[in-house]
C-alpha cells in the first residue's frame, strides 16, 4: 500500500496492481474507512479499481502530512472486512425493449427471453462511478451475454437506457454519446443534482434489474 500525489490537491492510495473482486472489496472498505474519519481537510473520496483517490485542501495540509495521515488510517483498517450491514441493495425496474436487444440476441445466439432472463437474473455490484455524473459500472455480466462494445458509438443514448458491454452493465444517467448495447430502459432517476448524494448508486452497492411488462 502506498500513497502518491495526484496533482496538488489529491492523493491516490494504491492498494493493488491487478483487478480482482477481492481487491475491489478492499478498495470499497478502505474508502468507507476514510469517509468515517470525516477529516476536515478531505473534500472527496473516489474509489476506483486499484485504489482510492482522496481530494483534500492542500492549503491546510501538505502532501507528506496528508499521505501519512491517510496511510495510518488505512493501516488500522487493513485487517477489517467490509461492514456488510451497510451495503445497500437496489431494485431497478426495466422495460426490455432496447434498440440493440434483437442484435444482442442474434450475436449471442440466445433468444430475447433468454437475454432478459440472464440479465435480470443476477445481483450486480457497483464497481465505481465515472464517465459522466451518475454512471455506475456494474459487474459481473453473465458470460453468455458478453460482447465487445459497438464499433460505432451512438451520438445520443437517452437517459434511463439500460445497456451492456464487455463484462459490465449500466444505466445511462444522462443523454450522452455511448457505445454500449441498449437492451432496455428504466424510469428510475439515476442522477439528480438536487439530491445528496446526487447519484442513486454508490461504489459497493448491489443492484438487481426487475423486468416490468
Amino acid at each position: 500500500m502506498r500513497a502518491v500525489p495526484l496533482g496538488d490537491s489529491a492523493i491516490t492510495i494504491v492498494l493493488g496492481a491487478e483487478r480482482s473482486t477481492e481487491l475491489l472489496n478492499r478498495v470499497h472498505a478502505t474508502a468507507a474507512a476514510l469517509a468515517v474519519e470525516r477529516l476536515a481537510e478531505v473534500q472527496d473520496i473516489v474509489p476506483a479499481y486499484l485504489g482510492v483517490a482522496v481530494f483534500y485542501d492542500s492549503l491546510q495540509a501538505s502532501f507528506s502530512d496528508m499521505a501519512a495521515k491517510l496511510l495510518a488510517i488505512c493501516d488500522r483498517r487493513t485487517a477489517s472486512t467490509a461492514d456488510s450491514d451497510k451495503i445497500r441493495e437496489h431494485e431497478i425496474p426495466v422495460t426490455y425493449d432496447g434498440a440493440d436487444l434483437a442484435q444482442v440476441s442474434a450475436s449471442t445466439g440466445l433468444s430475447v427471453d433468454e437475454v432478459i432472463a440472464r440479465h435480470s437474473g443476477r445481483l450486480y455490484s457497483v464497481d465505481l462511478l465515472g464517465f459522466v455524473p451518475g454512471f455506475a459500472y456494474l459487474s459481473e455480466l453473465d458470460s453468455a451475454l458478453q460482447l465487445p462494445r459497438r464499433s460505432q458509438p451512438r451520438p445520443r443514448v437517452p437517459a434511463g437506457s439500460v445497456a451492456i458491454a464487455g463484462a459490465q452493465t449500466a444505466v445511462y444517467p444522462l443523454d450522452t454519446p455511448g457505445g454500449w448495447h441498449i437492451i432496455g430502459r428504466t424510469d428510475r432517476v439515476m442522477f439528480d443534482p438536487s439530491r445528496d448524494p446526487p447519484a442513486l448508486l454508490s461504489a459497493g452497492d448491489m443492484v438487481r434489474f426487475v423486468p416490468t411488462p
Partner: protein, 296 residues
C-alpha cells in the same frame, strides 16, 4: 461536497485565478458567480448601476465608447453597454459583477456543467436577451480605478508550465520523460473545457490501457498514439489512459489561456515546490483583496 464520487467533475472556471482576482477587485467573495466568455464579440447592457471588472484573456472592450482596462474596478451606470469586440490574446475572458450573478447553488457550486445541462444559468450558455440578476452589492467595494498589481497575476506569457510526477510516472522511460520535459508542444484545435489535446513529438509508443482510476484537472494522459491530452475542468472523474504527470494548479491558468497553435513547455518540479507555488497564488489573491478593500 463529495460530488466526484458521484461522477461529477470539478467544473468551474478554466482560469480560476482570473475569476477569483476579478471577484476581489469588485469586492465579491472569491466563489461568487461570474461570466466566462470564450467567444468573439458581444454586448452586455447594464440595467442598474453596477461595479464590474474584466480580465483573463486580453480583449478589445469598451463601455459605452470608453476603452476598458483589465483587472481594474469599473463603474457602470444604468443604460451603459459593455461591448467586447474580440479576444486578442488568451481564450477565456471573465466578467465579475458586484454582488455576483444570482443563480442557485447546485452541488455546492454556481457554475454551469454543460454536458449535464445543470448548474449556472439554467444549465446552458447565456443567450441573446437573457437577463442576469445580481446578488446584493458588496458592503465594501474597491474604489473605481483600483487595479491589481501585474506581478500578482500568473505569467500568462510564460512558455514554461510546471508539472509534478503523475500516478503512472514509473510506466514511462527516460526517453518519454525527455520528450515530455525537453520538447515543445502546441495546443491543438481539439481543445475545450474537457481537455486540451497537444501536438508534438509522441511521448511514448508503449502506452497501454489501465484499469480506470481517478483523474483530476491538469492530469496529462498519454493515449495510444503517444500525444498528450491535458484534462481540464469538465473532464470525466475516472479514466484508463496512463497519467504521466499533472500540471501544477498554480500554472493551470497559464495553460488554460493558451490558444490553439501556441506552444507550451513542461517543467518538472517536486510536489513540495508545486504546493508552495499554489500557496503563493492564494497569498497573492489575498493581497489583491486586502489592497482593494483598503482602497474602498
Amino acid at each position: 461536497m463529495h460530488s466526484r464520487s458521484s461522477g461529477v467533475p470539478r467544473g468551474g472556471a478554466m482560469d480560476v485565478f482570473a475569476l477569483q482576482a476579478l471577484n476581489a477587485i469588485v469586492g465579491n467573495a472569491p466563489a461568487s458567480a461570474a461570466l466566462e466568455w470564450a467567444l468573439g464579440g458581444g454586448t452586455l447592457r447594464f440595467q442598474i448601476d453596477c461595479v464590474f471588472a474584466i480580465g483573463g484573456a486580453h480583449a478589445r472592450a469598451t463601455l459605452t465608447g470608453r476603452a476598458m482596462p483589465s483587472f481594474t474596478t469599473c463603474q457602470a451606470r444604468a443604460g451603459d453597454e459593455l461591448t467586447v469586440e474580440q479576444l486578442t490574446d488568451g481564450r477565456f475572458l471573465y466578467i465579475a459583477l458586484g454582488g455576483g450573478i444570482d443563480v442557485p447553488q447546485i452541488l455546492g457550486s454556481r457554475s454551469t456543467y454543460l454536458p449535464g445541462h445543470f448548474g449556472g444559468y439554467n444549465g446552458r450558455m447565456i443567450a441573446r436577451n437573457d437577463t442576469l440578476s445580481l446578488g446584493p452589492a458588496p458592503i465594501s467595494q474597491p474604489s473605481e480605478g483600483f487595479t491589481c498589481s501585474p506581478e500578482l497575476l500568473p505569467r500568462y506569457d510564460s512558455a514554461a508550465v510546471r508539472i509534478t510526477r503523475g500516478p503512472h510516472a514509473d510506466l514511462f522511460d527516460d526517453a518519454a520523460w525527455h520528450t515530455l520535459t525537453e520538447t515543445e508542444f502546441a495546443v491543438s484545435t481539439a481543445s475545450d473545457r474537457t481537455g486540451y489535446k497537444l501536438k508534438g513529438k509522441a511521448v511514448s509508443d508503449a502506452a497501454e490501457n489501465l484499469p480506470s482510476d481517478a483523474s483530476c484537472q491538469g492530469a496529462i494522459q498519454i493515449p495510444g498514439d503517444g500525444t498528450p491530452i491535458v484534462l481540464m475542468a469538465d473532464a470525466p472523474t475516472v479514466g484508463g489512459y496512463p497519467k504521466i504527470a499533472v500540471v501544477a494548479e498554480a500554472d493551470l491558468p497559464i495553460l488554460a489561456q493558451r490558444s490553439p497553435g501556441h506552444t507550451v513547455r513542461f517543467q518538472l518540479v517536486t510536489i513540495e515546490q508545486s504546493q508552495r507555488a499554489l500557496k503563493r497564488r492564494a497569498s497573492d489573491l489575498y493581497t489583491i483583496g486586502a489592497t482593494g478593500a483598503a482602497s474602498a
